[in-house]
Structure formats: C-alpha cells, structure tokens
C-alpha cells in the first residue's frame, strides 16, 4: 500500500510541476489522437449520412457489421496497418511505419466504425419532417444530408468525441505502428506500459492520472452537450 501512496504523491508532484517529460508525452498523445479523430470524422460522418439516407441491398447487414466493429481489437488494426505500411507492404514506400502519421492512420481506421455507427444512430433520431421540408424547398440529396447532420450536430459531435477517447486510450496500434520511440511516437499508453515494466511507477501513475482525467473531461463535455 505504501508504494501506491508514495507513487500517487510523486505522480501529483510530477503533474503539478509540469514535468517536461509528462507535458511532452501528453501533448503528443493529444495531437495524435485529435488528428486521428479529425481524419476519421472527415470520412465517417458523410459516410454515415450516405448509409442512413440511401436505400440499398444489404443495408441492415452493413449496419450490423459496423456495430460489431465497435469493439474492433486494436491489435488486429495494428497488424493490418503494419502489413500495409511495412517496408515490404504495398504502401511501404511512403515510410509511414514508426511515425506519428502511421499511428494517426491506424487510429483513424480503428475509430471509424464507432463514428459511422453513432452518426447513423444520431441521424436516425432526427425528425423525418426536417428531411421532407428540405426536399420540398428544393434541396438535392447532398444538401438534405448536410441539413440533417446540422440538425443532429450534438449527437454527431458526441460520436467524434467517443472516437477520440478510444484513440487516446488504445495501446495496440500505438505500440505496433508507432513503435514507442522516445520523443517521437511514445504516447501516454505506451509510456505507461514501458515505465511500469521498468519500475518507474511514479511516472506511470502520473501518466495514468492524466489519461483518466482526459477521459473524465471528455465525458463531462458529452454530458454537457447532450444536456
């Protein structure tokens, strides 16, 4: 028990004094996961709109599949992206492996199902009246999708935040694609894994507290905007 209290005390000290290592790792983590959430949202929100408003064969099955992939294991995404961007893979020449950009790509893929799925749910909750009104005013299909997404912006925003939370807290892609390189691809989760194994428990606890605090903030924002 003493070890835990000591660790906690030193961890708070590390955070309170803005320890350069803690600040650096935290800001890198935020940058990478925000970027991946942003990248994913560019593709996933319109994609969710298209799936929701188009009628096509296999739509139910597709939505089911997307929902199944909410719990897509991070290591399988890591493996997939590794095979793609490794030196001997099809995208090897881009040199993305063991860079933050490779991590952003992998995390974007990881959070895509959640964002598409929750966007679909969000849009399905918008009153059909809005769609009809837009159509009667002469809007084309793309304009209708944009109108409805705007109407559901709070719930769509929530899907982006949840995606960001998942990206921030995952360790599989970060480790396999980033490689945990100090000062370059080392993020909160991979640091905690490494520092714990090296016995630097204070630093691990400090980073863990930060990780949980960020999740807490995300959750507070979610509650707030759902209001």
């Amino acid at each position: 028990m003493e070890e835990i209290w000591n660790g906690l005390f030193k961890a708070i000290e590390l955070i309170a004094t803005w320890d350069p290592q803690v600040v650096e790792i935290t800001s890198r983590s935020l940058f990478i996961s925000l970027s991946s959430a942003f990248l994913a949202s560019i593709f996933c929100i319109p994609m969710g709109g298209v799936i929701q408003f188009r009628q096509f064969w296999g739509k139910k099955a597709l939505i089911n599949l997307i929902q199944t992939l909410y719990s897509l294991p991070t290591v399988t995404v890591g493996l997939l992206v590794f095979l793609l961007i490794s030196r001997s893979g099809p995208l090897g020449s881009l040199g993305l492996l063991f860079t933050p950009y490779g991590m952003i790509l992998g995390q974007a893929i990881l959070v895509c199902p959640i964002m598409i799925g929750l966007t679909i749910t969000a849009l399905s909750e918008v009153s059909p009246l809005i769609k009809d009104t837009a159509r009667s005013l002469g809007a084309n299909q793309m304009q209708i999708i944009v109108t409805v997404i705007r109407e559901a912006r709070v719930a769509v925003m929530a899907s982006v935040l949840l995606g960001f939370g998942r990206a921030l807290s995952e360790v599989g892609v970060a480790m396999m694609i980033g490689g945990n390189i100090r000062g370059y691809t080392r993020v909160l989760t991979t640091s905690i894994a490494l520092e714990t194994s090296m016995g630097n428990l204070e630093l691990s606890i400090a980073l863990g507290i930060i990780l949980i605090s960020i999740s807490l903030v995300i959750n507070l924002i979610l509650t707030r905007i759902r209001g």
Binding site: T99, G179, N180, G183, Y184, M198
Partner: protein, 283 residues
C-alpha cells in the same frame, strides 16, 4: 513455481524445451514470465517469482548483495552482435564494438538519413550492455539521449521494446542495433540485417540463474527453485543447452557454462555448480 526470464531464452524456444523436460522429471508446471532482465529482476525484488534467469552482471551482483537472491549461478553464454544493414553505411565492420558505436554516432549526427541506431531502451540486459559500450567509447549515456532531436531526423532511436520488436524496427529503418546472438539467429530469416561485429570480451553475454531468497520474500518456492537451477547445471541440462538449435541453425545458439568458467569470468563457486545455500537455513 514461477520463473522470470530474459526474453532471449524464451523467444528462441530453449526454455520451452527445458520446461518440458523439467516439468516431466519433477512432475510440476513451471510458469514462465518473459521480459527483459530489468523487469525480471524487479519481479524478483518484489517476490513475485521464485527463480530468475537473467544476463546483466552488475544488477545480478546488486540483487544478491541486497539479499533478494541466494546465489548466482552461471548456466550458459554466447555473444552480443552489433548488426546493421548489409551495405554497412557507417563502415564499422571489423572494428571493436565501442569504437564502432562512436563511429555510428559521428556519422549518424552528420547524416541521420543513412546512419541510425535503434536502442532497446527498456533496461534489459542488452540495453545495459549498450550503455556499458557507450561508456567504454567515452560517452555519458545521458549525452547520447540528449543528442537526439525530436524528429525523424534523429540518428538515435530509443525503441523501448523487446529484442524481437527492436530487430524488426532496425530492419525496417535499415538501422544498426545491438542484439544477443540467439535472438538474432532465431529472427534472421525475417530480417534485412547482417551481423557486422561479433565476439570479443566486450560482447560476451553470460546467462545466470538466481533463486529468490525466502527469508526476504516468505512464500517463494525455494526448494523447487534450487532444483531447477541444479537441473540447468547438471550434465543433462548443460548438454541440452549445448545442443539446442544445432538441428535448425547448423550451430548452437548458446554455449554451456560448464568447462568455460575462465572464458566467461565466472568464479568456480558460481560456474555451473549445484546450489549450495540451503533453503532451510535461509528461511
């Protein structure tokens, strides 16, 4: 009984074989926790395991001195290799290891695109040896760490991962790295790396077994742990170690400690002899 081991013994498959034979003859089930030497020693210091197989003399001695372990027993050895891209962009082939590191550093700072070094950076035995080599080369390890810039353009890459992952990274980035001989041989088929410097006292790699002290950590299975060490240093165990890998790689991955005590600078009392300290006395 729980055994914490350095990754090389596990990743090469040697420990699976030893476990199979030992489990059979002693009718037990050995639980193997595999990590770097730093991690293994930490498990030992916390009393989370009963016996250790590690390879970093300085930390082994400290472990014994601090009373966490009963005795140090040399069981096997091989060498570290300095490996790198086939075209050897820094031109280190034929140098001694510490001189080679100095050259890699100088050329890496000049041209980080073509000369890089990947470090384990995880407090493992191999990482400890890398630090020692930097010291021999006349550098402070903290200076090495500070010389990296926070960009892709850095010549020194601190991976913070196990040997296999580090080798894969070095291969992908066409960088140099320090590796133990056995892991390199086991992974070589999948790597675009070649061994550039091998052998020599600087690169000697001695594997050691230690029983966790039951006085310091009540509840550890001292008797069985001693039997395990005794099995490793027995003729049977030493033969197993000496022949392991010859069928697959054409040469052994590890050399037995027995008969090589002078070469590996282990004293007679700690070189491939059965454990002497009694668990009862310690407890």
């Amino acid at each position: 009984m729980k055994l914490a081991t350095t990754t090389s013994l596990q990743d090469t498959g040697l420990l699976d074989l030893i476990k199979e034979k030992f489990d059979q003859s002693h009718n037990v089930s050995l639980d193997v926790v595999s990590g770097g030497t730093g991690i293994a020693i930490q498990y030992g210091e916390r009393g989370d395991v009963d016996v250790l197989l590690v390879h970093d003399k300085a930390r082994e001695s400290k472990f014994i001195e601090d009373g966490h372990g009963l005795e140090r027993r040399c069981i096997a050895f091989n060498y570290f290799y300095l490996v790198g891209p086939e075209n050897d962009p820094a031109g280190i082939q034929g140098m001694n290891a510490s001189a080679a590191l100095a050259v890699i550093m100088a050329k890496g700072m000049e041209d980080p695109d073509s000369v890089k070094f990947v470090s384990r950076g995880d407090d493992s035995g191999t990482h400890a040896r890398e630090k020692l080599l930097w010291k021999n080369a006349g550098y402070n390890y903290s200076d090495i760490l500070n010389s990296e810039s926070n960009s892709t353009k850095s010549w020194y890459i601190d991976a913070g991962q196990g040997m296999g992952a580090t080798l894969n990274m070095a291969s992908e980035l066409q960088a140099y790295t320090l590796t133990d001989m056995s892991t390199f041989m086991a992974y070589q088929g999948n790597l675009n790396l070649t061994s550039l410097i091998e052998g020599g006292d600087e690169l000697l790699n001695v594997y050691v077994g230690m029983v966790v002290n039951p006085q310091k950590h009540p509840g550890v299975n001292c008797l069985l742990a001693s039997e395990f060490i005794d099995y490793l240093v027995s003729d049977q165990g030493q033969k197993l170690i000496a022949s392991f890998g010859t069928d697959k790689f054409g040469k052994p991955l590890f050399f037995p400690a027995k008969g090589n005590c002078d070469v590996i600078s282990c004293s007679e009392e700690e070189c491939a002899v059965p454990t002497a300290a009694s668990c009862a006395a310690a407890a």
